[in-house]
């Protein structure tokens, strides 16, 4: 199938419409928007990670000139509820975590919000925070997930166990599996807290509109938090409106509520518009992090490399509140054994409350943690068996039609044989090492879902209409966080309706005006809203072609829409301007619009302890290959080559897909080499970008992307999702390359120079050097 000739707009490297506005500086992000008479909000946060609140005295703060409101937990109509992300009914199994707007009686992590201030200026609001007197009684906390599991550990939330959830995956008989193994490798891996580090800190403006509607314009991945916000205010859901402008990066960190409840409460109380923007420090202190995991892995194989058994115990640190921890753990459970054919598997997964910062969604959502472990294990096995890391993977990869350890059948193309082969080939000859550098190459592959877990009953809606002049309007409640979410919808509508990309305008992200399209999370927007837009556009197309067929006295099946004309597919010169057909439809009262609802596959779970059967609509598969140079003197690892090869199903916009794979690779490289939120007794020690290091242009190698297009995804035109899968296997690829370079493995991320120097010293002592 030749994609270049099959489509006019789909599959091309098309500059995005939002990029133009952004390049010109026209885009108004959340913090760029202001209203007359606007107040400024600030949040008082706990300086303790675990303490009882004895008293809160707000009297001095309230008396300060220019202060318009000071709110504490008792002012919140509904201060406690459960987190929901659009699921239609309570799932149980720990899936609905406690959500508390402001701390009441007790603080559970450092940075927990206690009071809100609204004032005429930011300066006055800050001064007011200093005048609020809170008396605390510090309590013993627990800051390590393994400690928190012990029966005598302090309880983070009184009256409930620290263990939120224990999930398991069981396949075959694990003892039998290890009995049949010729070689067994057993290791414990650790991955750290990491930050999303979107460049745009959390921000929003809230106001009460002329109809009394509480309206928020906020940087979010989930406008459908309007329901939760309405619950907090004790208002009907239809009295809260959330608008998401272009978001300056999300990566999962704007999936949970950030400023929404605060600004809604302050606007509701003061009846004035209010803006609240976090400082970077506040952002790092107070938003969720990627879950740190302790991953105990035991993998067995035959002499020839065939895997016989895999046993794993996963423990994730949920921090002080549940948020999405059980969801993230579910993702880890499904892929814990990797994309491999293993007859005997047993995985136990726990997510545990501690008094650390809460953890929740972060690009990859539980998949990269286990990928680091299972892909390091594959190289450990290869090394023990003196096999090529490529060969041991290729002989064990699952194929289409086979099942994961959970029993979930892979119903669509599994491209791992190709992605691994191509990524490995692209590495080429090993670069010659210079001086005290050692060069190594490594690969790692993986799988990650796109689309939400199917027991969430996910749906998306999109409205497509053709205007009288032939221009096209799309309305879809998607949040555009920079991945080209709206631009792809424009491409799909333009393709189907035979107009140019410039002819399409997408209105997005407004709970009052755009049909709800669900969250921009879970790599689901192209899949879900892309399909909804495709369905709606096809309905409009059908109406147009039937009318055109009538006017042209031709079979509508023969007709096509190209460049604002109705043309004959069979090549005759008969044609009709699109606008003539539009007018004819309008004058006959035919609908030139459609609202389509796309439904993901649904399945209810009957219990949550054992994860089995289908959980996801589909998976994206890919491989990373890297070459590193390790400086044996300084321990610095430099990535020299980085190849990302993915089956993307179908590239809707080649530039955007490359952008996801390139950006994801560097995001994942940070995870592998430098990123770690250092937390000591609940205190974050790295609250800035000079302490929490991100990859810069000097760290980033030129990522080479190789796109395979199987056409076998469940998205529009056979597309698969790539946003999150794009970073899945980069960290283990780096760890494997470092092992290849220096002959020593590091089991905990990130691979900092200090760790490299330490393991080299140990290695040299072992072999009697120096």
């Amino acid at each position: 199938m030749n994609i270049e000739t099959e489509f006019r707009i789909i599959g091309k490297p098309i500059p995005r419409h939002d990029a133009y506005e952004k390049a010109m500086g026209l885009t108004q992000y959340a913090a760029d928007f202001s209203l007359p008479g606007m107040l400024y909000g600030k949040v008082l946060r706990s300086p303790h990670a675990s303490a009882r609140i004895i008293s809160i005295d707000i009297s001095k703060a309230k008396r300060l000139n220019g202060v318009r409101a000071v709110l504490t937990a008792k002012d919140v109509p509904k201060n406690e509820s459960v987190t929901r992300f659009g699921q239609t009914h309570a799932l149980g199994g720990g899936f609905e975590g406690l959500y508390r707007v402001l701390a009441d009686k007790k603080v559970h992590f450092l940075g927990e919000p206690i009071a809100l201030v609204a004032a005429e200026t930011e300066g006055i609001a800050e001064e007011a925070l200093e005048k609020i007197k809170v008396e605390y009684e510090p309590l013993q906390g627990v800051y390590d997930s393994l400690e928190a599991m012990k029966s005598d550990a302090p309880l983070v939330e009184e009256g409930r166990s620290n263990i939120i959830t224990h999930f398991e995956v069981i396949k075959g008989n694990i003892e039998e599996g290890f009995a049949g193994a010729d070689v067994i490798v057993e290791n414990t891996y650790r991955v750290p807290h990491v930050d999303h580090a979107y460049l745009e800190p959390e921000s929003g403006v809230a106001w009460i509109d002329e109809n009394g509607i509480v309206t928020l314009r906020v940087s979010t991945q989930v406008i459908e938090h309007f329901r939760g916000i309405a619950d907090v205010l004790n208002l009907p859901h239809n009295r809260v409106r959330v608008i998401a402008p272009y978001v300056g990066g999300g990566f999962g960190g704007k999936e949970d509520i950030t400023v929404e409840s605060f600004i809604a409460l302050l606007a509701y109380k003061t009846k004035r518009p209010i803006k609240l923007t976090y400082t970077r420090e506040e952002s790092i202190f107070c938003h969720s992090k990627r879950h740190p995991y302790v991953l105990e892995y035991k993998t067995g194989a035959k002499k020839d490399g065939k895997l016989t058994a895999l046993q794993a115990r996963l423990v994730s640190d949920a921090g002080a509140y549940v948020y999405l921890s059980p969801w993230v753990l579910t993702y880890s459970m499904v892929t814990a054994a990797g994309p491999y054919r293993i007859p005997h598997v047993k995985v136990d997964g726990y997510t545990v409350l501690t008094n650390n910062i809460y953890t929740s969604a972060n690009r990859g959502f539980g998949a990269p943690q286990v990928c680091f472990a299972y892909e390091s294990q594959m190289d450990e096995l290869a090394s023990r068996l003196k096999m090529n890391p490529l060969e041991i993977r290729k002989m064990n990869y699952l194929e289409k039609g086979e099942a994961l350890a959970t029993g979930e059948i892979l119903e669509h193309h599994v491209a791992l044989q190709e992605t691994t082969q191509k990524a490995y080939q692209a590495l080429g000859e090993k670069t010659k090492a210079k001086g005290h550098h050692k060069v190594g190459q490594g690969i790692a592959s993986g799988m990650m879902s796109y689309g939400r877990m199917i027991f969430l009953h996910d749906t998306s809606r999109s409205y497509v209409s053709m205007e009288m002049d032939g221009s096209v309007t799309v309305r879809a409640g998607v949040q555009d966080i920079g991945g080209g979410q709206t631009s792809s919808l424009a491409q799909i509508a333009a393709e189907i309706l035979g107009v140019s990309l410039e002819d399409v305008k997408v209105y997005f992200g407004d709970t009052a005006l755009t049909p709800l399209a669900g969250t921009t999370t879970a790599t689901r927007q192209l899949y879900m809203s892309g399909n909804a837009t495709l369905m709606a556009a096809q309905e409009v197309r059908k109406t147009l072609l039937i009318m055109a067929g009538k006017i042209m006295e031709m079979d509508p099946e023969r007709l096509d829409l190209v460049d604002r004309e109705v043309v004959d597919k069979e090549g005759s010169d008969k044609s009709l301007p699109l606008v003539d057909v539009v007018r004819a439809c309008a004058s006959d009262g035919l609908p030139l619009y459609n609202v389509a609802l796309y439904k993901a596959p649904f399945r209810n779970l009957t219990q949550f302890k054992r994860i089995e059967g289908p959980v996801f609509p589909d998976f994206t598969h890919g491989t990373h290959a890297v070459e590193v140079a390790v400086d044996e003197e300084t321990g610095v690892v430099k990535v020299l080559k980085l190849i990302a090869c993915y089956d993307v199903g179908r590239a809707i916009n080649r530039l955007s897909v490359e952008g996801q794979l390139e950006g994801g690779a560097i995001y994942g490289m940070g995870y592998g080499l430098m990123e770690k939120i250092i937390i000591e007794n609940g205190v974050i020690k790295t609250p800035s970008f000079s302490e929490y290091l991100l990859p810069t242009s000097l760290d980033a190698p030129e990522v080479q992307t190789i796109l395979l297009e199987s056409g076998d995804g469940v998205g529009p035109f056979g597309a698969k999702g790539v946003g999150e899968p794009s970073l899945n296997s980069i960290a283990p690829a780096i760890a494997n390359a470092v092992y290849d370079a220096i002959g020593v493995r590091i089991f905990d991320l990130p691979l900092t120079p200090e760790k490299i120097v330490r393991v080299l010293k140990e290695r040299n002592q072992r072999i009697g050097k120096r």
């Binding site: 001064e127 460049l199 745009e200 300056g248 920079g482 991945g483 080209g484 690779a665 560097i666």
Partner: protein
């Protein structure tokens, strides 16, 4: 709260003479955004770590969050909007769009400003020189590859235009 003493700030902002009363502790970033409405200048960290607030001060890229407004008194300030407009876009703005160098776009203003500062000084930078020049500008979305390509392309285009003028 007692009223803070203010001083008159006069700058040439994107080619126009501008005056405003400022308080001595106000940063140039704050004054550009809140007093002149130039919200294309972004605040990513407020500490000089990310480069999102970069502007050209007398042609040199600086972090406006680390610059007090009064330090810019009597000088020229150029923001992204002063580099090019929808009517007359700068080749950097065009190449950033064309090359896919913009995803969320929050780093873009600082990135293009920094690149403009580089190309004004060094019209034909090597890839290494580009990487060094933008190393103080963090981007979390793109992995930098397409940004570097966009700067290379703009440099080539500017060079061709220069040659044609000669």
């Amino acid at each position: 709260m007692k009223k803070q003493k203010t001083y008159l700030l006069e700058i040439i902002l994107n080619g126009e003479w501008k005056k405003v009363e400022v308080e001595p502790q106000e940063t140039l970033l704050y004054v550009l955004r809140e007093k002149f409405g130039h919200t294309e200048v972004k605040e990513g960290c407020g500490k000089g770590d990310c480069g999102a607030c970069a502007i050209l001060l007398n042609g040199k890229p600086v972090n406006s969050c680390l610059t007090l407004a009064l330090q810019a008194d009597g000088q020229t300030v150029v923001t992204l909007k002063g580099i090019g407009t929808p009517e007359k876009p700068h080749p950097l703005q065009e190449s950033f769009v064309k090359k896919g160098a913009i995803q969320c776009g929050f780093c873009t203003a600082g990135m293009i400003v920094t690149a403009k500062g580089l190309l004004d000084k060094n019209p034909q930078p090597s890839k290494d020189e580009i990487q060094k020049a933008i190393s103080g500008n963090l981007c979390r979305c793109t992995g930098y590859k397409k940004i570097i390509e966009a700067i290379e392309e703009a440099a080539q285009k500017l060079q061709r235009t220069m040659n044609n003028k000669r």
